[in-house]
Symmetry: C2
């Protein structure tokens, strides 16, 4: 069975729904990621693959690999096979610039992509889908473009290497080779197929359907997944492979892209996929953070005081109702958000294990764990704030300039 | 009643069907153009308007105006009002480059547009929709682009002024300001509306629906109708009006454009619309020429001998079966193709009237009329062939260069 060609592209099993627009678990419980791997037909990112990454890059795997945040993949092993033979690849990720302030969940793919870029020493393209946000979010063209540049500053603040990174906004970059690939992708996809995958109705803007070839719908991924879309970066390298780090809800996009790729003479892009970063109030890990509720997430613009307050007031605790009961049976780590957040952002494996043991066995209290999380996030947000403040308009221009990358394949 | 906002955008009255994909009259008879004006809600291009054109341009109106080939309009009078006050406008026409060889019907809008450009001394944009043809006609990107350039040579051979004319292909030019207007147009049109107008089904390529914002479907007209789509031509002139010469089957496109225009802050484009150029075999003027039947049309690549043969063998005659009967009752000019063709291309009004009188009253025979038509078309085609042979690749590059136009508003 070709795992990419399942009839139901989006997971619409009655148990859980995971697609770019909806993430919901059975009865409001946890997402079953093992089941999702089966539903989607992707592969588990297992320990042997992580060991292989460590060996090939001669560095400790990123915390998101060690802790299973990135837990699934498609053809990542093939990309590593090629890499081992001396064939480089390029990375592709992106963001829809619908708001000014990013929260921690938004940073995860960029933090991980920065690690991949450094570890594998490969070029990276970052797409800002301002056209899609203009279409779907009822933003003006100008406001979408402004948000794209503001978001680019946050992305650059993650520490990307300007000699290996091309950031582009669709409104700036669509045209030429990129537009030709849009048309080629569009020719491969019937309207019925698109409507089935993405659940459009006839009352939707025609622009929603016009966007697949750009990216909003089907081909957010499709076009930048093909090296010929970037003639200034990859001239004559049409067979160069692309690796896409993303959250697993984006998988339906890329199944479509992988279906189309060989028909256009390109390699299928490989994927490395993460679980979801939970909302502060989440009892478990179901759901994505809600942009409409600022208390559901820590933003990179939050002050130390706001971070402390949010964690203390809103972070769902797995601790017991009374100290006595907590000392007796310990915290339920499965639903505890402070522990969950620490497992994303506390780099020290030993300390994390210590906290989980002490907290899980009732010797550590929720307040103490929240205090540690507050320290970790405050430091991380403060570091981001300082890095972002140092990003000038000239730096944004430099990352977004259409140019060859000098040290692309070192 | 706002004449632009009829519920049925394409004319689907049971009498006759006229839209960009189908032209058919009741019972295979003639298109009733008076009825079409009512159905579409456009205006008649009457004698007083033609007189006004003559006065404003200080030259005899083009034969296509004098003979009623261009017979309908939308807001042409308003464009003339503004022109009289000293406000210029720009012209916009185009072609879908689906084949190498153009026939005489293809030349009509370009011949007329050249006259308008000369008479009003205004800039002109010509869109070659190679992206649309790539999508719909199953041509490769490369072949569509090659055909676009070949067609550009035929268009240039019509005598356009390079200092006032910008020819562009979508694959070359889509991007930037043009792409932003594509997204703005797409936001204004629901999928249901588009499907209703253009009769799409769910099995169509998603690209067909993705194309409205480009142009193939809805916005072939929409985007070039807005001056901001050409920042190198019309900087700061967002209120500049656009006049579009086209055949009346394109009207549904432009009704949609006119509906969208004010919502985006632009003027509605004005239209000046022609009847159809009939096929050689047509008994009347219903139908368009068929690209699949080379004998249904005279091509600009036909030799003198081919022209003569086609006219003699295929041109539908209104003459009588026997000379005796013909001498007695004369030709039926209403269905006679040679007379119809002469009324398009024989510039001399006096001679045309003479032929119609002599032929209609039986003193002139079909063979004589066909001989005169052969002379007229042979000369016209030969003139075109020589002009086209003189068009170099450098000239194509010059017309297609993205540049300001030096003598744009003289």
């Amino acid at each position: 069975m070709d795992v990419d060609k399942k009839d139901s592209i989006a997971s619409d099993s009655s148990d859980q729904v995971v697609n770019p627009w909806e993430v919901s678990a059975k009865d409001g419980g946890k997402i079953d990621y093992d089941k999702l791997i089966d539903q989607f037909g992707c592969q588990r990112l297992d320990a042997s693959l992580i060991d292989r990454v460590q060996r090939l890059t001669s560095r400790q795997p990123h915390v998101f690999l060690r802790r299973g945040v990135f837990f699934a993949h498609r053809d990542f092993n093939e990309v590593l096979d090629a890499y081992e033979r001396g064939d480089k690849f390029y990375l592709y990720t992106g963001r829809g610039p619908s708001s000014e302030a990013l929260h921690l969940g938004h940073l995860i793919p960029f933090m991980f992509t920065k690690y991949l870029q450094e570890a594998f020493k490969v070029p990276l393209v970052i797409q800002l889908t301002d056209d899609e946000k203009c279409m779907w979010k009822n933003l003006s063209v100008e406001e979408s473009q402004r948000l794209a540049r503001e978001n680019a500053k946050d992305i650059i603040a993650c520490g990307f290497d300007v000699t290996k990174t091309f950031i582009f906004s669709d409104f700036d970059y669509v045209g030429g080779a990129f537009y030709k690939n849009m048309v080629k992708v569009a020719k491969c996809v019937t309207l019925n197929k698109a409507m089935g995958i993405f659940g459009f109705s006839g009352e939707d803007h025609i622009g929603k359907l016009s966007f697949p070839p750009v990216q909003a719908c089907l081909s957010v991924p499709a076009v930048p997944s093909f090296p010929s879309s970037f003639p200034h970066l990859f001239p004559g390298k049409d067979k160069l492979r692309c690796l896409i780090p993303c959250a697993i809800d984006q998988d339906p996009y890329f199944r479509m892209t992988r279906d189309v790729a060989p028909r256009l003479g390109y390699s299928k892009p490989a994927l490395i996929e993460s679980s979801f970063f939970p909302a502060l109030q989440a009892s478990g890990e179901n759901g994505k953070m809600s942009a409409s509720d600022p208390n559901s997430a820590i933003y990179v613009t939050d002050t130390a005081k706001e971070i402390k307050n949010k964690i203390n007031r809103y972070a769902f605790s797995g601790g017991q109702d009374s100290i006595e009961k907590h000392r007796e049976i310990g915290a339920n780590l499965e639903v505890d958000i402070p522990v969950k957040y620490l497992s994303f952002f506390l780099d020290d494996d030993t300390e994390l294990e210590h906290i989980k043991k002490e907290y899980g066995e009732g010797r550590m209290l929720t307040g103490e764990v929240k205090k540690r999380l507050t320290e970790v996030l405050t430091e991380m947000v403060e570091r981001h704030r300082m890095a972002r403040a140092a990003v000038t308009d000239e730096m944004v221009d430099a990352f977004m300039a259409v140019r060859p990358l000098p040290s692309m394949f070192e």
